[in-house]
Symmetry: C2
Subunit: 530 residues, 2 copies
Amino acid sequence: MHFTSCARNIDSIEGLPALGIAGAGFGIGTIGYFFSHKKQTDSSTLEVTDVPKFQHDTSASNISDACKEFSHIVGSANVSTAAQDLLIHSGSDFQSYAWTPETATPGAAVVYPGSTEEVSKIVKVCHRRKIPITPYSGGTSIEGQYIPTMGGVAIDFTRMDRIIEVNPLDLDCTVQPGVGWQDLNHELASDDLFFPPDPGPGAQIGGMIGTGCSGTNAAAYGTMKDWVLSLTVVLADGTIIKTRQRPRKSTAGFDLTRSFVGSEGTLGLVTEATLKLAVKPKCEAVAVCTFPSIRAAANAVQSIISRGISVAAVEVLDEVQMRSINVAGLTKRKWTEQPSLFFKFTGSTDVIVEDSAKLVGKISEKHGSTSYAFAADADEREELWSARKNALWSMMAMRESPTDKVWTTDVAVPMSRLADIIEDSKRDIEQSGILGAILGHVGDGNFHSILLFPEEKRDIAEGVVHRMVEKAIAMKGTATGEHGVGLVKRDYLEKELGKATVDTMRMMKNAFDPLCILNCDKIVRMAPKI
Amino acid sequence: MHFTSCARNIDSIEGLPALGIAGAGFGIGTIGYFFSHKKQTDSSTLEVTDVPKFQHDTSASNISDACKEFSHIVGSANVSTAAQDLLIHSGSDFQSYAWTPETATPGAAVVYPGSTEEVSKIVKVCHRRKIPITPYSGGTSIEGQYIPTMGGVAIDFTRMDRIIEVNPLDLDCTVQPGVGWQDLNHELASDDLFFPPDPGPGAQIGGMIGTGCSGTNAAAYGTMKDWVLSLTVVLADGTIIKTRQRPRKSTAGFDLTRSFVGSEGTLGLVTEATLKLAVKPKCEAVAVCTFPSIRAAANAVQSIISRGISVAAVEVLDEVQMRSINVAGLTKRKWTEQPSLFFKFTGSTDVIVEDSAKLVGKISEKHGSTSYAFAADADEREELWSARKNALWSMMAMRESPTDKVWTTDVAVPMSRLADIIEDSKRDIEQSGILGAILGHVGDGNFHSILLFPEEKRDIAEGVVHRMVEKAIAMKGTATGEHGVGLVKRDYLEKELGKATVDTMRMMKNAFDPLCILNCDKIVRMAPKI
């Protein structure tokens, strides 16, 4: 028996505003604003105009009193208000945000905790005193993630740099946030293991989790999200939680681990991470192919991937980038200044590696590749791959003046649109008159542009970045493939994801951190843009 | 210059309760309880005793009026209050929860929407009327996920079964929640693509996302979390959001996609999913090895994995399970009744597949394997793998009476503890006197026990499951590897993750769904256990 409708005028019922309880709740919410920071409605989203105004207290006396408490927790040697320390924690030349030492707006203090318990105590002080917190580790992020726009206190994880345990049989390890990924891999090498995510040199696990980074290995191994098993996190009120134990697989409740990965310290501060590890491939090879055009290179990659051929990495460098490598001279070899694909192949036997490499060679040739350099020997491999590794530094050598700025940004699009957007962006860079190169994790539909310009041409660079991002979004891609959101990319999120989705993120942020003290106003604006 | 502490008695400052705003907020929260459902504190967690009492209205008149509205939205043919429909949506024999048709507590109505917009309208009605909602698709979950313990309305996604688009070049597709994974793979085969997660037959995308399922392919391809690019979700207040566009990689804000995967419909209802696809491997082979003991088999797997040898799947079946396959006779072959490993190998060439298979054969032999059957031919492969595929049904044939119950449960532990826990659990099953087999996704440290028993021995089965889960947790594993939490596993979460972590999940649930109408009280208890 199915229910038969006999209602009259149902539209009017459905069209009614949610009166009654929800309405009353809103009334109390308005009154409650003076007392509480969680908005009181029955809504699942939170608009920026409904976020209670921050009640941060960054007065000199409050900071000074807080620093006394911090000193008691971590020792006075680990609390700094020195101008140089504050400046280091206020930004860097690599920010896409227009940072300079002269215009920097440093925070008020830097605290260096040594343990999860100390972080919890520090956060409790800040929670009670309503002092904004900006987390810091490595300092290699480029979207303004650690710029202390709200003032307050930086928590620097430099001292928390221990590898706590490595479990080779379980293929996992537990580390503190201040461990660098390169140092970790150095340690793991003796067990023939490695941690795949490979962002810029100097990056540390804490920041890598915050950004949800990736790198060249993502084509085969995925991104940071895929390599974190469990996190110990200090929440905004100082509560310590651990998101998981150590099984490789679990469906035990909400995926808090992945909620924190990519949240840039806005939902909690990571103080310990259990990471998955991969077995170092027994055999490895590298190949470099040059192509007459970026499109030909992109087509070759599409063809390789759609045949299910396993490549450990595939990177594209455009002719400007290749020229810069020759100019900088950081590698021994002289390179053909044409769009090039850099491949990595790995496997448990030489046969497997060579078989994949052969297939890739054939497909590249079909797509017009004019040269194919292959290396299985360790030194030769290193030499070939060194061009890719030195790409950013090589571009730096192309600056016309040492005061020229560099703006590295990235977007990602569905694979089939990659050639279109790269071609478009290259044309746009050429027309802009500033120098720029394209460099891409082409296996993921993700690429970077590196722009060099004098400060007075910032608006031109900004225009190039803006148009590239708009194009990526129009192609059903993303404003940020692996660099996070920080400050500059915030205002693209609504366009990319829709207002309701951003309002959902804001609701989540507000639930985790009702006082908005954790890296407040990053990723999602918590106050209207002025 | 480092700050020097001159504070007296800081301990007492730090020890102060968070008075002032937080305290006053709590007061208002208590008053506000009558009007609003979001607790008003500055805390980042929510204890079960602080959740406002549900104000659900499941009165006959409210449901009847709601059904009139539903009929207006979806047509009266798509609203049912028929007893048989309600019973089907109240549970099944496969639940670990003690469900029988006689003791079932059905909900009050089932609604069958046809679009995202219809789901949003239905949810808005329920939100306004405070009617609990239980989502339903496929109905193959076994931890009680779709049992309508709060009464109210089931939303059944059967009609939303369209594959909306397949983008072969982008390796993605967009589908509605009522699409079965087997049907999807059938459609994708013509493009040489497939969707890797392979849970039980009959499962549909909506439920697979809810549970965060996996299956035999997880060893090589990961779980559901790794294969969802974007979700369209209807939130508790009817708001429609889309978590992402279609890039393979993105760091655009919080990972809402993965917040919903595994949340069992408690945070929102998935109405559309964009899924990543994999290229169907050109070449495939299957091998089966028998071992003198489970430990020898587990050691072989450990050895294979730690050498980085690529296997597409590796499953362990114990001797009870192998015997059941012979007894049931669902496969042609007569099997050795010993612990056995089932391997799948895939690759882009025969050479790659054979090379991996050879290595695995050698390692298995070293670990005492007494036989190694290998098949690359499609029919032979199918025949070998059929034993694994029919495992559950074969066990069903071992029931002494057709009214005997089956309880399938799973846990996961760090790889190195797998042999220990399987041996322990087998001993425990033997001592319990009930019939049980072990079957495992051994490459992930994840295994299932299948227990058969007459209803009057439920407490014995419960004891076995309880001890297995407790052991897994003690070994730093999880109470649930791939079946989700639902009802039965809820009370293990605090033990596994800690109280503060569960309180964080509860805070998140309350923020997304302040009226607790979406599959309320599943995963995380929202009311104290009575």
